[in-house]
Symmetry: C2
Subunit: 155 residues, 2 copies
C-alpha cells in the first residue's frame, strides 16, 4: 500500500505541467467559452436553437424592424453567414423579412408569433444557464468579468 | 445642419439596443475569445501554426515524453481530433511519436529539432500577443481575469 502523501506526490510529479499554458489569456478564454457553450447548447436543444440563432432572435426581439446588416454588424457575424442564418430562421417560421421603411431594398427583421413563443421559452432557458454561471463565478464575479471581456472585445 | 447634441441623440436612439445581450457572460466570452484568436491566428501565420497546434507543441515542450492521451486530456481535445492533429505535426516534421517507456503500446510525444526551432519562434510571437492583451486589460486586469475564467472552465 502507498500512503496518501506518497500517492499525492507521485500523482503530482507524474501529471503534466500545465501552469504555463493555463496562464495564457487566450487559452483560458477558449476553455471557459467552450464550457459555457457546452452548457448552453445542451440547454437550448429543447427549443432546437443553437446559441448564435438565439442571439439573433434576442437582438431582433429587442430591436424589431432592424435591418439585416445592422443585426449582423451588431453581432459581429459575417454578412454571408448571417444571410444563411436568417434563411434558416425564416424557413422555420421564426422570423420574417419585410422591406425596411427607410430603405425598401433592405430587409427589416421581425419575429413571427411562433418565433416569439419559441424565443420566450429560450429566454427562460438562457436565464437559468446564466444563473448557473453566476453561481460558479461567486459573489461579484460577473461584475468583475464582464468589463474585462469587453475591454478585450472592443478596439 | 444638425447640432452635435441632436446628432448624438439621433444616433443613440436609432442604433440597436445591445445592453441585454452584452450582459450575457457567454456572449461576452465568445466575442472576447474571437478577438483574441483573430490576433493570435494572424500572428502565428508567420510560422504556419494554428493556435491549437501551438498549444500542443507548448504542452509537449514543457512535458517531453508525455503520451498522446495525456496531452489530449490535458488540453481537452477529443481523442480522434487529437490523433489527426499529431499526424499533421508529425508530417510537418515538428513532432515524433515514440513508444512510451511505461506502456510500449502508447505513444510518447517529443519535439524534433525542427519542431523546437519553430516552437521557439512561435513562443516569442505568442509572448508579444500576450503583452498586447495585458496592455488592453490594464493594470491588474490579467490577474483578475484568469481565476474567473478557470472558475468557469473547471467543474
Amino acid at each position: 500500500m502507498i500512503d496518501d502523501k506518497e500517492c499525492t506526490h507521485v500523482h503530482a510529479s507524474s501529471g503534466p505541467n500545465l501552469d504555463g499554458i493555463r496562464s495564457f489569456i487566450g487559452y483560458a478564454l477558449r476553455r471557459a467559452q467552450l464550457c459555457v457553450f457546452d452548457d448552453l447548447i445542451q440547454a437550448l436543444e429543447e427549443v432546437g436553437l443553437r446559441p448564435a440563432y438565439f442571439s439573433v432572435l434576442f437582438v431582433v426581439s429587442e430591436n424589431p424592424g432592424l435591418n439585416q446588416s445592422e443585426v449582423s454588424t451588431a453581432l459581429g457575424i459575417q454578412r454571408t453567414n448571417f444571410v444563411t442564418m436568417v434563411d434558416h430562421l425564416e424557413a422555420q417560421g421564426l422570423i420574417v423579412r419585410q422591406p425596411a421603411k427607410k430603405d425598401r431594398r433592405s430587409h427589416a427583421l421581425h419575429l413571427t408569433s411562433k418565433g416569439t413563443a419559441v424565443f420566450n421559452r429560450a429566454r427562460d432557458i438562457q436565464s437559468e444557464h446564466e444563473m448557473r454561471l453566476i453561481e460558479k463565478l461567486g459573489p461579484g464575479g460577473r461584475e468583475q468579468l464582464l468589463p474585462l471581456l469587453w475591454r478585450i472585445a472592443e478596439d
